[in-house]
Amino acid sequence: MIIISCLPVIALLSPLIGGIIAYQAGKISETARDLISIVAAIVSFIVIVAMVPTILNGNTIEYSFYYTAISTLPIAFRVGPFPLFLGLVISFAWILSAVYSHRYMERLHSRNRFCLFMSLTLSAVIGTLFAKNMFALFIFFEITLFTSYVLVIHEETPEAMAAGKKYLFLGLATGLVMFFGILLVYLQVGTLDLGKRGILDGVHGNILYVILFTLLVGALFKAGMFPLHVWLHSAHPIAPSPASAVLSGVVVKEGCYVMIRILYDIFGVNLLKTMLVSNWLVLLGGLSIFFGSAMAIRQHDLKTMLAYSTVSKVGYIFLGAALLTPTGLQGAMVQIFHHLLAKSALFFCAGALIYKAGIRDIDQMAGIGKKMPITMMVFTIAALSMIGVPPLVGFASKWYIVLGALEAGRPLAIGFGLVLMLSSLMNAIYFIPIIINAFFTGESEHGEHKEVRPDDVPLSMAVPMVILAIGIIVFGVLSATTSVVVIKPTVNAMMGL
């Protein structure tokens, strides 16, 4: 089926071409531009959905430009369960953020550029997900850096430029380190294919640790893990809110995805177990969880707080993946899914507050819940999911990670149990007061949102938020089912079971 094998390319090209058309259309009509970009995202989503039956039948979809790149390293796509799962969620979240940005962006400048680079970023992220080998993956990975850089510096203020500079140059530097790792892998085994579990099997010696370190540096930078998070808390908040949602919700996930592919496809579970690095990686994840939560508590700016919260959630994903057990990986995947929904929702809410009331600071939020009920309800649901309150999807992910830790061994499980409790507590510390403040406190006398009328954000902004909130609830309730239908096969494919 030629059509089917072309689907990944169509999924990649539709936002690319759509973005360029939208950019041109934007010079004539703003509405047309937004419509085109939404349609492009929807096309991309539908195309990815169309791939589902093939994948569910246990096949993979491959597409190669065999004659274009270096002979052994074609720019090729291969869609398996994991990329497909992530691609579905990401492209769906993109539709929402495209809808959301229609009204949100109307007060900002350079809207055409924003629209174009949002689409380009989507295109690059999808390329990263579907890449067949590390070479193609790295190409799209680097493109994402540049396209998202434009999103970060959108405001063009000195702070935005400084944050963007940090993002770009650290990203380039870590990208080069990763590039070095890729070269090492290629010279060691002569292939970069991601289809085989553990292409480095058979390589011995310290070079393995060098490769692991260099590759992870690149992936963890994009993911915003603890020692490499330094850009995240300045870059994510400074971007316009739809972009923040995309950066925190999607681009960070791209880093997590690459990290999981490195661990499970380049190295493979068996090799990592013989390298005895699992515990160190888990420790790193734990540090990230703690650090992110601790820093989030100290913040007053809502978006910065959310950004730090991302650091801690990425720690969960990394920890779950580093446990090297099926359930742990399952937890990591659910966490990716959950964080994508919840963090996008939270940033949408933060954007709604800025849009409607001009609020960026947590302390100014007293009583806002009465004026903007939908926004704050969505916020509450997402925040509760972040904390890990049972019926919501956030709980499921934590649950699986705990089970994974148990599988990995008792000391680890006890240690992780403590980390989990503490971090949930910390999450509660920074989310609960906001909720209470927003709903149950009267408006402070020097409140800056007096002029806000008691109506909520426009429909085009409210709908994406609500959809995300519903998603959080529904998938939380159905978590047992979804994990059997979707996550389990994915995990089994990744683990090679």
């Binding site: 430009f65 004659y67 274009t68 790149a69 270096i70 002979s71 720019i75 070479f135 790295f138 190409i139 799209f140 680097e142 493109i143 540049f146 510096i153 063009e156 430029m161 500079k165 770009l168 140059f169 380039l172 530097a173 080069l176 380190v177 590039f179 070095f180 070269l183 090492l184 290629y186 010279l187």
Partner: protein
């Protein structure tokens, strides 16, 4: 197909003959110069492509001028590398010629039109000749043709600084010329021949034979110094920033894009064609020495480029760094490394050519040279600036541009050596890439994301089409050959293998 067998001499003769016709026709009507030059470079380009095709199908072509077989007659030997260089040279010259039509009308006095095109064609002829010749002294002569015409072209605007820059270039260039002449003399004493293929055979018996191996070393040292000056390899690059930034932009593009690469070609010919790879790599580690110099060139050139405020000067220093990439790759003397170095000749020619043409377009339209003044140009000249950005990304080595592919090959080559110095070299390559990003991103940020000084001044004011087309073609090439790198690699890879004898 008898004419096809004469292709090696045709590619040299087309530009040289044009150089003689141009002043005559230009004397009658100045407007005829540009179409004439464009047509003739197009023919040279097509001839180069045909030459490359016949090299790819039939292997190395040996052409004996006047029918005298070497070592008595002068031979033209076109291998993969020579054919590859011919394509790059004629392609970039064609772009520069198309661009010149409108650019020169404004930049140069009318009376200089005919000399400008004459010199351009002479320079092209010299470069083509140096690429295809199989005779060492012949190479010297072609080098003189291209050098002298390039000295004159740097000074052609007649501006104060340009003349001084040209003088500086000439002084160092003349020293380089003399040094190569001495080197040729030594080799001639030792072997009694000047034919490159013959030389390599006769020299092979002399390696390690007492006094003659010392003579060989002296000869090699003279060649290294002489051609390093022409290639602007650190620390002999001092003439480059002045000369390349002061020349008219179309000429800067040719100088930075290919002329210094012809110097690199001469270095490669001396190292691998005349001396054997085993000799320069193992017996006497000349290649590793020039690799170290090239690694320093990458870092120092990039650091100097960061500190520049003048756009063209920054681009010129960037050329110092990138000739470092090329020489480093060649000096690695591994399959991947040398392929990467040769590939980068092509990729850098396109990217740097594009950048200089864009810089010229900026000067043409606004008269601005200072990087900090470029704010708002992204709206004013969207296509030119988009091309600039793509070319800059290619210089940094961001996928999917062509620069990434050469970076990939160079990195593999450095690691392939398997020594600790290989790790240092890859460090230099990666650091160089990062430093390159620093100064190009500064320009890009200024162009797109900085508040212009007077916003109301910013109106759409695009470069004239005649100048825009070559810019866009080159920028397009940066992307196309990044996605389809096999096209240049189909020549670069066998070229490297042939040079290294693997």
């Amino acid at each position: 197909m008898t004419w096809a067998s004469h292709l090696p001499i045709i590619v040299v003769l087309i530009p040289l003959l044009t150089a003689y016709i141009t002043p005559m026709l230009g004397w009658m009507d100045k407007r005829i110069c540009n179409p004439l030059v464009i047509v003739s470079t197009s023919f040279a380009f097509i001839a180069s492509l045909l030459l490359a095709r016949s090299v790819l199908t039939r292997g190395v072509i040996s052409y004996h001028m006047g029918g005298f077989a070497p070592p008595f007659g002068i031979a033209l030997v076109v291998d993969y590398f020579g054919a590859y260089m011919c394509i790059v040279i004629s392609f970039l010259t064609l772009m520069a010629a198309i661009y010149s039509r409108e650019y020169i009308a404004k930049e140069l006095h009318e009376s200089k039109t005919a000399p400008y095109y004459t010199l351009l064609m002479l320079m092209t002829g010299g470069m083509m000749g140096a690429s295809v010749t199989g005779d060492l002294f012949n190479m010297f002569v072609f080098f003189e043709i291209l050098s002298i015409s390039s000295y004159a072209l740097v000074a052609i605007t007649g501006k104060k600084v340009a003349i001084l820059a040209s003088y500086k270039y000439l002084l160092l260039g003349a020293i380089g010329t003399s040094f190569t002449l001495v080197g040729i003399a030594y080799l001639y004493i030792l072997t009694g021949t000047l034919n490159m293929a013959d030389l390599s055979v006769r020299l092979a018996s002399l390696y390690g034979v007492g006094r003659s191996s010392w003579t060989l070393l002296v000869a090699l040292a003279f060649f290294m110094v002489g051609y390093s000056i022409k290639a602007a390899l650190f620390p002999l690059h001092t003439w480059l920033p002045d000369a390349h930034s002061m020349a008219p932009s179309s000429i800067s593009a040719v100088l930075s894009g290919i002329l210094i690469k012809v110097g690199a070609l001469a270095l490669i010919r001396v190292l691998f064609n005349i001396f054997q790879p085993e000799f320069v790599v193992e017996t006497i580690p000349v290649t590793s020495m020039i690799s170290w110099m090239a690694a320093v060139a990458i870092i120092v050139g990039s650091l100097f480029a960061i500190s520049q405020v003048d756009l063209k000067r920054m681009l010129a220093y960037s050329s110092v760094a990138h000739i470092g990439f090329i020489i480093l790759g060649v000096g690695l003397a591994t399959g991947y490394g040398t392929t990467g170095g040769i590939l980068h000749i092509f990729n850098h020619a396109m990217a740097k050519g594009c950048l200089f043409l864009c810089a010229g377009a900026i000067i043409y339209k606004t008269g601005l040279r200072n990087i900090d003044d470029l704010a708002g140009l992204g709206n004013k000249m969207p296509f030119t600036m988009a091309a600039f950005t793509i070319a800059a990304l290619s210089m940094i080595g961001i996928p999917p541009t062509a620069g990434f592919i050469s970076k990939f090959y160079l990195g593999l080559g450095a690691l392939e050596t398997g020594t600790w110095s290989g790790w240092v070299f890859i460090g230099a390559i990666l650091l160089g890439s990062l430093l390159t990003a620093i100064f190009y991103m500064r320009v890009i940020n200024n162009i797109y994301f900085k508040e212009p000084l007077h916003r109301e001044d910013v109106q759409r004011d695009e470069t004239p089409l005649g100048m825009l087309i070559p810019i866009l073609i080159l920028a397009g090439g940066c992307v196309i050959f990044g996605i389809f790198p096999r096209i240049p690699l189909s020549l670069a890879e066998p070229a490297a293998k042939l040079l290294l004898g693997i």
